[in-house]
């Protein structure tokens, strides 16, 4: 069974199925198709599937040309029909793993994917999860569903592995192909197969001894980021009280040629990794009677950041004898990081929510995000960034530092700027920095 599949892989006579055509799955599918691997993309969303099949790209990290080539030359097709899993020799799962409102893992997407796979897969299929999740998910959560639904046996009839995605939206240097990939399988055979399969899409595979090691790797990477962003955010708040410019401190610390990596403060963490992944670990740690105090503390800092930023806006307005209530407040940038069109978990939305609740009259401008809905369900449309809008606002808050923003123009026209991203490098009385 294994040598049969291995032969098919080495002849490039095999089919890869990718479940979930989002930020992770779509670039991965394109990467396989580029190497002329037959690739089927599965997604519940008919609109995504139709877009893909028409060659219409909706992900920043994939170029329109890459997608249209992959689709045009027939190596990549998308479908909503999960019964076609039976056509696949390898299934790579790239579904979301969100947290619920209480920061508990929502495993339903993985569970559904496993059911669909178990009910449809043929014997001799390699299955690999890419979604970030708590360690033990592959072996303790997925395996029982797959074996139950399929009646097949892992290690004999199919192989199960875990390989965390490392997608960094907007990263121009490192994409799917040239970012090394960690892979842990339940058996040696699974590892051999996984390496052979991923070898088509990814330059360098780093094997580890088990799925749970690979699961922990991804969480460590993003927990490292959470912890360090939280530290620098807390330091920034203290520096604010001590009248020390945190940005100047970081620039100087960066001159240390070893043992330091710079992180920058901001209005809070955002996106679909850092605000989520560490809490997957916190969840499973409880089962082992273990309290992850660093993650807990970091989470505490991050939860309060948007509120603290609202207080900064109030303090800045207070200098001009104004209150939030009744003031026109313009937010520049609502994406969770610069130059992308993704506002998931963005702190800007939380700050807007709170400022609106306190009676602020909200406008926002984001060149990449035409409309937003806040957590409380408020809806806004991006306003054109005109000199009049800047002049008429009591306070301009820079929440995301998109590189297209004309800082000189903003500085010229705004009455008051709360700069949460060190976008305005020039010292000015009307700039209130984080």
């Amino acid at each position: 069974m294994k040598s049969n599949l291995l032969q098919k892989i080495s002849n490039n006579d095999f089919t890869v199925g990718i479940i979930g055509l989002g930020y992770v799955g779509l670039p991965l599918a394109v990467s396989f198709a580029e190497k002329k691997v037959m690739t089927i993309g599965f997604d519940k969303s008919l609109s995504k599937v139709e877009k893909v099949n028409s060659g219409i790209n909706y992900i920043g990290d994939v170029s329109d040309q890459e997608l249209s080539e992959a689709v045009g030359n027939k190596y990549f097709k998308a479908t909503t029909d999960f019964s076609r899993i039976s056509e696949c020799d390898a299934i790579l799962i790239c579904v979301p793993t969100p947290l619920d409102q209480f920061k508990k893992p929502n495993m339903e997407f993985i569970e559904t994917a496993c059911r669909e796979i178990g009910q449809n897969m043929k014997k001799g299929t390699f299955i690999c999860l890419e979604s970030t999740t708590y360690p033990t998910t592959t072996e303790d959560f997925m395996l029982p569903i797959l074996e139950r639904e399929s009646g097949l046996k892992e290690g004999i009839d199919f192989w199960l592995a875990y390989s965390p995605e490392r997608v960094d939206p907007g990263n121009k240097q490192f994409g799917t192909r040239n970012t090394p990939k960690v892979l842990g399988a339940m058996s040696d055979d699974g590892l051999v197969l996984g390496k052979a399969i991923y070898g088509y899409a990814i330059d360098q595979i780093h094997p580890v001894s088990s799925p749970k090691v690979a699961e922990m790797v991804k969480i460590l990477e993003n927990t490292y980021r959470l912890i360090n962003i939280s530290l620098i955010n807390e330091m920034a708040l203290l520096c604010g009280k001590m009248n020390i410019d945190i940005w100047e401190v970081i620039d100087a610390a960066k001159t240390k040629p070893y043992g330091f990596q710079a992180f920058y403060p901001g209005p809070g963490i955002g996106g679909h990794c850092i605000p989520l992944d560490p809490f997957y670990l916190e969840h499973i740690a409880k089962k082992f009677n273990f309290d992850l105090s660093m993650i807990h503390t970091a989470g505490h800092i991050d939860m309060m950041m948007p509120h603290r930023m609202t207080l900064k806006i109030a303090s800045a307005l207070n200098r001009q004898q104004k209150a939030i209530n009744g003031s026109k407040i313009l937010f520049l940038g609502v994406a969770y990081k610069p130059d992308i069109n993704d506002e998931r978990e963005s702190p800007a939305l939380k700050i807007i929510d709170e400022v609106a609740q306190k009676g602020g009259i909200i406008h926002y401008h984001d060149p990449y995000i035409p409309t937003i809905a806040t957590t409380r369900g408020l809806h806004f449309n991006s306003a054109p960034l005109t000199s009049e809008l800047l002049q008429q606002s009591d306070c301009v808050v820079i929440t995301t530092s998109h590189s297209v923003f004309d800082i000189d123009d903003i500085l010229k026209n705004a009455k008051l700027i709360v700069d949460l991203r060190n976008a305005v490098k020039i010292a000015s009385d009307k700039v209130y920095k984080l």
Copy 2:
């Protein structure tokens, strides 16, 4: 006054005084003397002063040849006579800033240095503190003492600055000269003078806008390290419970080509920077009604690490139906990091203390540290590392991974190894890893 001193500096017709001839002061003095700057080293310790003047080196980061050349060619002399401060055009303060038992800053060395300087300095002296301390120390703590004791005025009669030392003992790549130096002065004149003076000893100076920014820079650098070591130590404890090899996880995470810096777990933090510096910041933050929760949590993890390591030793012995009480326990390495002869704040000492208290029969071997005294005042001598000693020990604990240790030999002869440093890379039943 300023242009007079600047002229002397540019002609190399000036004298530098360095207060404190330890890990920071001695290499700095040698670095100045190498460039033929007249350098006087001040220290209260007659024995250190006599050693220096005899060309006897006692610091790992200075070579014997460098010191004997500096002393031999008369550019560097040491003295216990602080009245000779009056001969100096620049005074660089490299005294210890320890914490007391309650983790509160002990400022007495800085205070004494400032008194001696204030009472002895001539007009037109540049003064710079290098010791790590809480932000505001230079301006709020040192300045009043210096002005009161001297009757002189900063910015007119003398100049005050802060420039944190960045010495990393044992670092072969980065030493005093080629590690960029951050410098913040109270006045523009002070900054110009400081840059000119330090230019003789250090390749690259990074100026910042004030002493307190420079003070914060150093604390940020070491707080970053404390936080990340604490995180990885906590992760290691959880991985132990989940039967995941943390070292394998880190090795795999390191393959991420951006946004990750590897830290390694161990029995606890040690040395004279990381266990101290962040708590200087925690101290001053209180004055600003600010709770540094990340440092607090990290401190909590680090305080419990030696105790947790004692429990690891007990667990390992328990596998062999033995208790700590009455067992012979051999500790390998007591330095706080590999290949150095410094056991200050070393977690090994704390573990030894606790294991001894629980009735363990203690032996230790460290090729660089012939005797130790634990916090509770127990004294031990390093035992020769023989096959017999290894064989006769119920448990061998690797507390510091000196590169001279013959791991194969230890593995061959020991009955049981508790490896707190991932020194034994081979899997073995008798090895109990952190």
